[in-house]
Point group: C2
Chain length 377, copies 2
Amino acid sequence: MTDTETAVQPFTADDYAARMRRAAEQATAAGLDGLVVMPGPELVWLTGYRPTAITERLTALVLRPGHDPVLVVPALEQPDAEGAPGAAAVELEAWTDGQDPFARAGTLLGATATMGISDSAWAMHLLGLQAAVPGSRYRSLTDSLPMLRAVKDDAELARLQSAAAAADATYEQVVGLRFAGRKETDVAADLARLLREHGHEQVDFTVVGSGPNGANPHHEAGDRTIETGDAIVLDFGGLKHGYGSDTSRTVSVGDPSAQLREVHEVVRAAQQAGVEAVRPGVACQDVDRAARRVITEAGYGERFIHRTGHGIGTTTHEPPYMIEGEEQPLVEGMCFSVEPGVYLPGVLGVRIEDIVTVTADGGRRLNVTDRALHVVE
Amino acid sequence: MTDTETAVQPFTADDYAARMRRAAEQATAAGLDGLVVMPGPELVWLTGYRPTAITERLTALVLRPGHDPVLVVPALEQPDAEGAPGAAAVELEAWTDGQDPFARAGTLLGATATMGISDSAWAMHLLGLQAAVPGSRYRSLTDSLPMLRAVKDDAELARLQSAAAAADATYEQVVGLRFAGRKETDVAADLARLLREHGHEQVDFTVVGSGPNGANPHHEAGDRTIETGDAIVLDFGGLKHGYGSDTSRTVSVGDPSAQLREVHEVVRAAQQAGVEAVRPGVACQDVDRAARRVITEAGYGERFIHRTGHGIGTTTHEPPYMIEGEEQPLVEGMCFSVEPGVYLPGVLGVRIEDIVTVTADGGRRLNVTDRALHVVE
């Protein structure tokens, strides 16, 4: 079993302060005067603060180089914000019902500031800021600072490792269960249960693509009854200690056909080539190209219909993306999936996916279960 | 038992078309050139479409008086959108990765259009539209059309009635369970289980405020062990058939103190006065005033620290709000909570809440369980 749980230490206020400093520096480098961060994954990453609910009441972290970070919060939620692990690293400014929170936040911006703003900030909040500071300009945080959260520190890496180990343990247990005669949704429920048993607090997806359903990479799990002879794409993940898991294996129910054996071997080799391409300084698109070349040379290039990978951290999909056209160089500490696939419409699909981290020596897999074609019952 | 399930018929494309026409008319009346509606409760209400995930890929319903409604969707999600119950009432425009969805949506707006936009639309999407159509202006949908979804039609009312009956059945069962010696979170879990057993697909809140915790109206449920002599505020709800429930009762564990009896009777009378104030044409604030007057006259005015009620529909909190300053007149078909409370810090809280609908003859409660002070074990 691979569930070798790494001890996970809580993040400290210093960890959060360092992230906020880094974010402010990156904002300057990107030509921004600062950042406005609303509830969501960026706020959690920067402050550890996750409001109970995201509502019409404005909560906004304002970061400006040379100033202390300020977190504007509704007075009702001030006690919650004070309890956040990064609270000591921010100045809290509470506003009460009846006050204008946009005027309040607006005084923190320059009259003609250009700010990065969370992608998923509410439009009504952006409109409020635009009205309060008519000369202010805004750019989406992902457009302007795509790599803000991409490089993981050791404490984050320990969490991703723990999540990956839980996903590996889930895989090793699920292949011991019965597949033939059960519905995809039954196996999906097993995956969700096992992920939770291995410490996930949130399950985000449990793909079970049996037979022809495996050929649709957007298929999740349906009513189809699994039959002997099916290939099954399993792709599952969620959050553990706040960090994501995401792994895929393709198994055979009973003896695999010659076609499945062949396609599986191509995808396995492509995934290996993708992982081997990983090292600091290499462009993201070169990871995609390395995996794709193997599939194309085997004659299945038209059947590999998605990018090779995506970053992972406090969310299960985030930059960097391993895709043609992405010239971002890999940096030590980045973590992302390498997940090539081949999809034969109406017949079967095969995908193999590990989370990989960039080390000085090259790519290191966080998922380490066997990638050979496993036969289940 | 009150779980007299009303037959719930699916909404038809005609229902959705009528809502979209009404929304376009209201937009004109509010001085808008149209509406841009992003995934969320408004899109569900207008089209029945609820994307599997809300992502960076633009999905937007554009409503303009005199034009057919257009739903801009990512090509990957077109099959899902086509399956929405209101799909026949909209023109679908799919865009593929690599195309500019903002330019696409922008061609549907006039160069200087003023549009209402969903409150919770993503900032990156608003920024995309502002860049694609620099002369366009936007106002938050709730600011500009606060009563868009406030008046419920018969099919919606049937759903709210069904959700209320399920909440009532939950209350009637929970009071038969043991309270003393168990934790608040145990009772909260019972409430969630019962709501689901009575048909809720989503549980939004299960407040169990025991003893002094009941005095904090924002308390949910914690580790406190319930003791004989406690007052317990129970406030729970969620969604059934896509429509909300929300009800509160306050119970006594063992014989109630004289103080609890007195406060409970004041709140019961205030809630009755609030419900009796409901009729078409009365301002929302008059419902608040009617309930508040009873509490103030009993000497507890300073201890009633929140508004008297909120609307309910596809969300559990929405306009209209029963609050001082809200002059919106009540209209037949509006549905909202009437939920006065009294909170004695460090001692206890009492809240009584029913969902009420406006009829030609006055307010009609959808929750009908007994409001007397119930003694539990």
